[in-house]
């Protein structure tokens, strides 16, 4: 078991951090379309009180000094440097998940009517880390609206309590040197839709009753994540089968879906930065048509298998190991970025056909919970190979799926919804953009 990290943050202007292992790829591939920015929104029962929000943000940002950083270029690597400005609170009128400009912070708050949102760059943190921060802000927002804060969320002086463990690269902590390398996966099928003209990113959200969805999944003996991932694969299979024979790809017949896993649930860590990996259940269409039941079985067992602690360790070690090689470290940044850009598509995205991220069912302390209707998790814009991805979040009795799409077609979402309705005719759904 790795040792506990109890050092605290040096709160000075010279404070800087290296990027964590998962964040290293992002600065090399980010552009106006592929922004690596995701959004968390809380849809409140009343309009946002802007004065209270601004006060809450000012309070909370003191507690999370490691989020007030900007991206800088070093000679060998990018790094994060302390930027002593306040986290911006902006009117929510432009595009979703807009890129963060150079020299600015990597997060922002947005407000419109009764929707309170925060956008984060993936360089900074992952969905779980961001949600923890967002939750704290919400609780303090509610307290500014004259309600009390539960004791575990009271903010103390940051110098007293911000431990290095919160902003360390937790991947490095669980890295072991003596682990065998990973076998390379073959290329996967990709949705053949045409890309939209920029700005490409659009979003479609669906709200389902959570208890009903839970019941459908339980009937199949699986969790909601596994169930929806299976629907995702089934929809991909249908898109493949609907293509005419000459148009189907000859070699890339594997359907693989990436399901990010929050490693904090498996390996103990308090880190607020990226600490997730993914499992990739797959079906091989060369073996013929899969029924939905078969897909559920495959996904369920593969997820069980791949979330095994030993296998997770192996993946961490593979990722961190390549970063630790002196040959890799010694390449100047501009060359490294070129190599990363080239391998992002060829070695990364080409291996899977879709992404489905479930942030899970959110628990909020009583009073805060009563002010919130539901949450929406808008996934980062998918890249042009993937074209579509999906983010899920549940709160109260509302399960919200939101599909990010950069293509001209909405057929995937249509098929997805149609299939869910087939499975349970009484399933209610509300859609919005």
């Amino acid at each position: 078991m790795p040792k506990k990290n109890t050092r605290t943050i040096p709160v000075t202007n010279k404070f800087w951090l290296t990027l964590d292992n998962a964040a290293k790829i992002f600065p090399a591939v980010i552009n106006d379309e592929l922004t690596s920015v995701f959004r968390l929104s809380a849809v409140l029962k009343h309009p946002v009180r802007i004065g209270a929000l601004q006060k809450a943000v000012l309070k909370v940002e003191e507690r999370y000094p490691y989020f007030r950083v900007q991206l800088k270029e070093g000679f060998f690597w990018y790094y994060l440097e302390h930027l002593p400005v306040h986290i911006p609170v902006e009117p929510d009128i432009g595009r979703y998940c807009k890129r963060f400009e150079r020299g600015s912070l990597l997060l922002r708050f947005l407000a419109r009517d009764n929707i309170l949102s925060a956008e984060f760059s993936h360089i900074l943190t992952d969905g779980s880390g961001a949600f923890e921060f967002f939750k704290t802000t919400l609780i303090h927002y509610i307290s500014e609206c004259e309600m009390e804060v539960p004791p575990e969320y009271l903010l103390k002086d940051p110098a007293d309590m911000v431990h290095e463990e919160e902003y360390e690269d937790a991947y490095k902590r669980y890295f072991r040197q003596d682990i065998p390398p990973m076998i390379k996966r073959s290329k996967a099928f990709h949705i053949p839709f045409r890309l939209k003209t920029p700005p490409r990113y659009s979003r479609l959200c669906m709200i389902f009753p959570l208890d009903h969805m839970k019941q459908i999944a339980t009937e199949k003996g699986v969790s909601i994540t596994v169930y929806l991932a299976s629907v995702y694969l089934y929809t991909l299979q249908r898109i493949y089968e609907d293509m005419n024979h000459s148009g189907r790809p000859r070699n890339h017949k594997k359907l693989r879906i990436q399901i990010p896993v929050d490693l904090r649930n498996i390996l103990p860590s308090k880190t607020m930065r990226n600490f997730s990996l993914f499992v990739m259940p797959e079906i091989d269409l060369r073996l013929g048509h899969y029924s939905f039941e078969e897909i559920i079985k495959v996904v369920y067992h593969q997820v069980q298998l791949e979330t095994d602690e030993k296998l997770i360790n192996k993946n961490i070690s593979r990722n961190v190991g390549s970063e630790k090689k002196l040959v890799v470290r010694g390449i100047p940044l501009f060359l490294k970025s070129m190599i990363l850009r080239a391998t992002f598509y060829s070695l990364g995205t080409s291996q899977y056909s879709g992404v489905i991220t479930n942030l899970g069912k959110i628990a909020m302390p009583g009073k805060t919970g009563r002010m919130i209707d539901y949450f929406v998790f808008t996934p980062p814009p998918p890249n042009k190979m993937l074209k579509i991805n999906c983010g899920i979040i549940g709160f109260g009795n509302k399960l919200v799926l939101s599909f990010g799409n950069v293509s001209t077609s909405g057929i995937f979402e249509q098929n997805f919804l149609q299939f869910l309705k087939q499975q349970s005719a009484s399933l209610e759904v509300e859609t919005f953009n």
Partner: protein
């Protein structure tokens, strides 16, 4: 509690503007919008003179007109004096030619200030023609082709590189001075070489190299001050591996 008509968030009762999007709250104070507009236009009026109100194009046109009036006046006066004195065009050919070339250069700069390469090329052509013309007027010793144009070319290329470097640099401070000093050094080497070819027929560098070496030394010092001392990036952070 009141709501912003633009972004829909709730605001404190005693505000006149939305603190999120800046929209004036008309329900609260109906004169707000009119007052804002009036005040802004008043301020603009106060701030700007007639000249400031012109567009960039109009300003450049005025500059162009003023310069041709001055140049033309100078040309006419020198021509009249020359004719009255000598009853023919003698020395006035020099101010006339120079004025024409200056006029061409001003026109090119005002018209093509965005297209740097074309601007420098046309300017170079006109100035080179001037050198040849001056050579011809002075009795065709051939210095124009063998000395004037190479020096001119070197100067134009150096200036082009200098402008390019300045435009490309993200920080503008002592590093700009360093670039200018280095350009002077490069120009010295070129001048030295071209003069040696013109005089002795062979390429020899003497004083030019000494000048270059010292300018490089000074520039390195200036770069160091600009990038290391002024910006407190510690080396550990920048070079972490």
């Amino acid at each position: 509690m009141i709501k912003c008509p633009n972004c829909g968030v709730e605001l404190d009762d005693n505000v006149n503007f939305c603190s999120l999007c800046g929209e004036p709250l008309l329900a609260k104070n109906e004169d707000n919008l009119a007052y804002l507009k009036k005040r802004k236009s008043e301020q603009d009026d106060k701030m700007m003179s007639d000249y400031q109100r012109l567009t960039g194009f109009q300003k450049r046109k005025i500059a162009w007109q003023i310069s041709w009036i001055i140049l033309l006046t100078g040309m006419v006066i020198s021509l009249i004096i020359d004719l009255a004195d000598n009853q023919r065009i003698s020395w006035s050919i020099y101010p006339l030619t120079v004025s024409v070339v200056i006029f061409i250069n001003i026109t090119v700069i005002l018209r093509l200030y965005r297209k740097l390469v074309l601007l420098l090329f046309l300017s170079f052509l006109s100035t080179a023609s001037l050198l040849i013309a001056l050579d011809i007027f002075a009795g065709r010793t051939g210095w124009g082709m063998r000395l004037g144009i190479p020096l001119l070319l070197a100067a134009y290329l150096t200036v082009y590189l200098l402008i390019f470097a300045i435009r490309k640099s993200r920080q503008k401070g002592l590093n700009i001075i360093a670039y200018i000093i280095m350009a002077a050094g490069v120009m010295s080497v070129c001048t030295d070489g071209i003069i040696s070819v013109y005089k002795g027929g062979a390429l020899n560098f003497g004083w030019g190299l000494i000048v270059l070496a010292s300018t490089v030394g000074i520039s390195v010092l200036l770069f160091y001050i600009q990038f290391r001392l002024k910006k407190v990036t510690d080396l550990k952070r920048f070079f972490h591996i």
